[in-house]
């Protein structure tokens, strides 16, 4: 009943992996430095912020919503935690919790507007995106916050495995993915996230408190954005009021590349990790190839389409 083959994800969910494999093969052949452990470790480091945001974004998208505020909320979180620690002299762990508290608070606001007033998530998060951006600018006075306590940047540190420096943040990201994967797959509340996205009315009628599920998802997403704030701070060693401008599109791209449907209820969280890595690999590989940046944009556009096309055709083949 549960042979090994049954446990493998169906071929329809392998698309993102195929896209990743193809991208890697191309870069491996055209550049010298691509296929090194150090380079892969670097790519993982580069994608960890978007990767963790993408966890929250995946949850929201699984419920058939979308969160445009994720990048700006993350930026606000990083400003709050760094300013609290540096300027108010708060102990770093507490400051971090405050930052995560703020991002979770934004999640709560998003969730309340979506569940209580039944507003479309697109508009709600467009509004809170602007609000978070403005608060970030006002509160930081558009100044970068530096001289952070070491505790706050500890996750940016690395340890060596076979001479390859792996950052703690990367490990944290992978653990968060595994946790989210376990939750979505193995627990009732995780399955309810899928159910709400798949058929909100049916889920309501069987007596699941759909509003509570949704609210929980938005708050949880906020917590993930808070953790992403911390990773960003650890990676850049500053609190940057300019952060978060491109992360929201990057995160949504990662989720969609990873095979999650924007209509909700279908998808898998590990795909988002692969999607984030695909985005990072493209950026890294093209720079290593010495492609100039306008051409990078062009090629990224083309490769993104090719990646999903390959994915789609491989599914057709499997049918």
């Amino acid at each position: 009943m549960s042979s090994f083959k049954d446990r493998l994800p169906p071929i329809s969910q392998m698309g993102p992996f195929i896209a990743l494999a193809i991208a890697c093969a191309v870069f491996g052949m055209t550049t010298d430095n691509f296929f090194t452990g150090a380079n892969f470790a670097l790519i993982l480091q580069q994608v960890m912020v978007v990767g963790v945001i993408a966890i929250g974004q995946t949850l929201v998208i699984l419920t058939a919503g979308i969160d445009l505020s994720c990048g700006m909320v993350m930026a606000l979180g990083s400003i709050v935690m760094t300013k609290f620690a540096v300027e108010m002299g708060m102990p770093a762990p507490l400051a971090i919790l405050c930052g995560i508290g703020v991002t979770a608070g934004f999640g709560l606001i998003n969730g309340l507007l979506v569940t209580r007033i039944k507003l479309p998530s697109f508009i709600v998060t467009l509004g809170t995106m602007n609000i978070a951006f403005a608060i970030t600018q006002l509160y930081s006075e558009a100044q970068t916050v530096s001289n952070l306590p070491p505790f706050m940047t500890a996750l940016g540190g690395t340890f060596d495995i076979a001479g390859t420096p792996i950052s703690y943040g990367t490990i944290l990201m992978i653990l968060l993915y595994l946790g989210a994967w376990f939750w979505l797959r193995e627990t009732a509340s995780g399955r309810h996230v899928y159910a709400v996205g798949n058929s909100p009315e049916a889920t309501r009628l069987v007596g699941i408190p759909t509003d509570r599920v949704l609210l929980g998802v938005y708050v949880l997403a906020g917590v993930f954005y808070g953790i992403a704030s911390l990773l960003l701070v650890a990676r850049t060693e500053v609190g940057d009021p300019n952060a978060g401008q491109t992360e929201n599109l990057d995160a949504i791209t990662a989720v969609v590349l990873g095979g999650t449907s924007l209509f909700g209820g279908r998808g898998m969280i590990l795909g988002s990790l692969i999607g984030a890595i695909v985005v990072g690999v493209l950026r890294n590989g093209l720079t290593l190839m010495g492609v100039s940046s306008v051409y990078q944009v062009l090629i990224t556009g083309i490769l993104v389409i090719i990646a999903v096309t390959v994915d789609q055709l491989s599914r057709k083949g499997a049918r």
């Binding site: 430095n33 670097l42 951006f133 006075e141 850049t236 500053v238 401008q245 290593l288 940046s293």
Partner: protein, 307 residues
């Protein structure tokens, strides 16, 4: 092997940075270096710049030239420097760069402020401020510099906050974009039709502002000043679209940066210090008490094409 030099600009959509890239490419070709380029998606996209620094280090760049989008890149720069990479700031200063080849944006603002004040000739000022977008240091420096030059009370060069006084009757963001500049000016004219001075963040915004004024039949009564001194902008000065602009020299910055990179790769030493690549006020009509160059000079110099 030929030395590898990286150039990271804020974006690739601004002609200023496009010129800078061209200058770098020409110089690299001349000196036999390999140039890699990268840019953010938009101004302020520090994440992309950090990623680009890391990738260029991996790709073996020994010198990275960067127009910083924000101080968040500093730690990444330090990490690169720790690996023996020379990092030179172009155009936008940041702490810890080995060297800075740049224009002083605050000074650029002061020059056009002084010009506008003199050109207005004692009439009460009603100024529209067409800014970049919130929280951008260059935007703040030019804005506050302009006000200082105009004799208004304003923040100093370090501040990222936009000052305002009763004379600045209207302020709006343009993203440095012509269509948005036009929209901003139109709205400002609705607010106060008697506006007689327009500060603009850059020349596309100035062109947009002029368009709006022309449609309102007011282009003759208003002084538009701007910053950048691109060839198109200087031409606009010649046409009377812009009264005066502070010219900068991106090609020069880039060429100097590439040269420093080749020097370092050849076993030379790292470049150091601040080289002011200079600001020149270009105006069609000189006004007494403010030194300016005419359009002909401006066209010859535009962005340092002909050094």
């Amino acid at each position: 092997a030929e030395p590898v030099i990286g150039l990271i600009t804020k974006t690739e959509t601004n002609p200023f940075f496009v010129k800078m890239k061209e200058g770098a490419q020409a110089e690299a070709k001349k000196l036999g270096a390999k140039l890699m380029t990268a840019a953010g998606k938009k101004d302020g996209d520090t994440a992309a710049q950090i990623t680009a620094i890391e990738n260029m280090v991996t790709a073996g760049a020994k010198t990275i030239l960067i127009t910083s989008s924000g101080d968040a890149i500093i730690p990444a720069v330090k990490k690169a420097q720790a690996k023996g990479v020379q990092v030179i700031a172009l155009d936008s200063p940041f702490e810890g760069a080995d060297a800075l080849f740049a224009t002083d944006n605050y000074k650029a603002g002061i020059l056009i402020g002084q010009y506008a004040k003199a050109a207005l000739g004692g009439k009460p000022a009603k100024i529209a401020m067409l800014d970049l977008f919130p929280g951008h240091p260059v935007g703040a420096q030019r804005h506050n510099g302009f006000m200082t030059g105009f004799g208004l009370k304003a923040n100093d060069a370090k501040s990222n906050e936009l000052s305002s006084t009763p004379e600045t009757v209207c302020a709006a963001d343009t993203d440095g974009n012509q269509a948005k500049g036009q929209t901003a000016m139109e709205n400002c004219l609705q607010k106060d039709p008697a506006i007689n001075v327009v500060y603009t963040i850059n020349e596309p915004a100035a062109a947009g502002a002029y368009n709006a004024l022309k449609k309102a039949g007011k282009e003759k009564d208003v002084i538009i000043v701007s910053v950048d001194g691109g060839c198109a902008g200087v031409a606009d000065v010649g046409k009377g679209v812009i009264a005066a602009t502070s010219q900068q020299y991106p090609l020069k910055m880039a060429a100097m940066g590439v040269a420093a990179g080749v020097e370092y790769a050849k076993g030379g030493k790292k470049a150091t210090g601040y080289v002011d690549t200079g600001v020149t006020l270009i105006a069609a009509k000189a006004v007494p008490g403010v030194e300016s160059k005419d359009v002909k000079v401006g066209t010859e110099l535009c962005w340092g094409d002909k050094k």
